[in-house]
Symmetry: C2
Subunit: 223 residues, 2 copies
């Protein structure tokens, strides 16, 4: 119920901000706000009281007309929505994911040292990875971004067979961690949905001084 009304409040807040209420007090009657929101004067008045109660605006209730200004808290609420739109519309060239350093089960090391992969890594990623991967467990709110990566083209490392054992295709995406070039291996949809493996020519744990539980930001290039 607390989160429920947010949307309507943010909508009203946005209209006030559009009138210039972010920068200074603006004079706006409940009728005018009602018109902008396609609702009655009474409802707009109520909305204003709710915004006040939420601490998103401050108000100077003059004799004739009220003057309203957004608070920092109100601006912050708007910025949260704005950043959602930025994610939607400005996600053409890169995606940023956040994850916690975790210890994998050693499969990364096993796979990355296979000769059948190594040559392709050098040719297609531009580096020969350190014999071991950095495992990151994504924070929950970033997990959906894996789907974006799965849909974008990325760099395909072809699978191969060796002594009867099949090594599958690996989909990589070039990325950077604190400006160090690396590549992200996106997990298939079925296993460990939330853990990505990072390939890098350096031993990232040592180079960046990472230990389990550290939060890392990865900037991934997408096609």
């Amino acid at each position: 119920m607390e989160e429920e009304m947010d949307d309507k409040l943010v909508l009203a807040l946005r209209k006030i901000a559009l009138m210039g209420g972010m920068h200074d007090y603006i004079s706006i009657s409940s009728r005018e706000l009602g018109e902008m929101l396609a609702m009655s004067q009474q409802s707009a008045s109520k909305r204003i009281l709710e915004l006040l109660n939420e601490g998103w605006i401050v108000r100077d209730l003059g004799a004739r007309r009220q003057r309203i200004k957004l608070t920092d808290k109100g601006i912050e609420s708007l910025r949260r929505e704005y950043s959602e739109y930025q994610k939607i519309f400005e996600t053409r060239d890169h995606i940023i994911i956040h994850g916690e350093v975790v210890t994998g089960m050693g499969e990364g090391q096993y796979y990355v040292t296979q000769e059948g992969y190594q040559d392709q890594f050098l040719a297609k990623l531009g580096f020969k990875p350190y014999e071991g991967t950095l495992n990151l467990r994504l924070i929950p709110q970033d997990i959906y971004k894996l789907d974006i990566l799965r849909r974008s083209s990325g760099t395909l490392i072809k699978g191969f067979e060796k002594s009867g054992r099949t090594f599958g295709d690996v989909l990589c995406h070039l990325a950077t961690i604190q400006n160090i070039d690396c590549a992200v291996v996106v997990p298939t949809r079925s296993h460990y949905e939330d853990v990505v493996e990072i390939l890098c020519k350096n031993h990232l744990r040592r180079t960046l001084g990472l230990v389990d539980g550290d939060l890392v930001e990865v900037r991934i290039s997408i096609a």
Copy 2:
């Protein structure tokens, strides 16, 4: 009633876009969408039907899970909201106003040729204005922007007295029209709230071939 439901629909559309639905079909159940919107599966299902009906999404209703993608029309709806936020947050360095060329009452010409102003124009605006101003009647939805200009610092042209007559201060803002440097005189709050005067070293009507009724875009720098 048609516009009423838009807000809720756009909200749902935004969540779908955040999941990646702008770029390709994504698999999302009505339950999942409901969770993201803090509502029941039933209501989310209804929302999806409304979005379909509005033509904002298309859907591939598989046996197990539906797949949803935004249409161009849906993307356009999101972009409209996004541009509102851009106006709110990216109005730091310039404002763009639109107005219709109108014929003033000659006061502009009278004022601009006063010696007391002329020297200041050259010093503070960087040009000596043509003896006559271009008058623009702002389109209604841009009138609020004048308030932003009044609040920003601008360039103050000081008033003076001459033979008992008082010439007041004039607040200018440097601007461009089709990349031609000019300055906008913001009207005081009391008179002709919606008409601005443009100062320019050129005769703008001739240079740009403008006649009454033409719509002009002015890009105004703000502090």
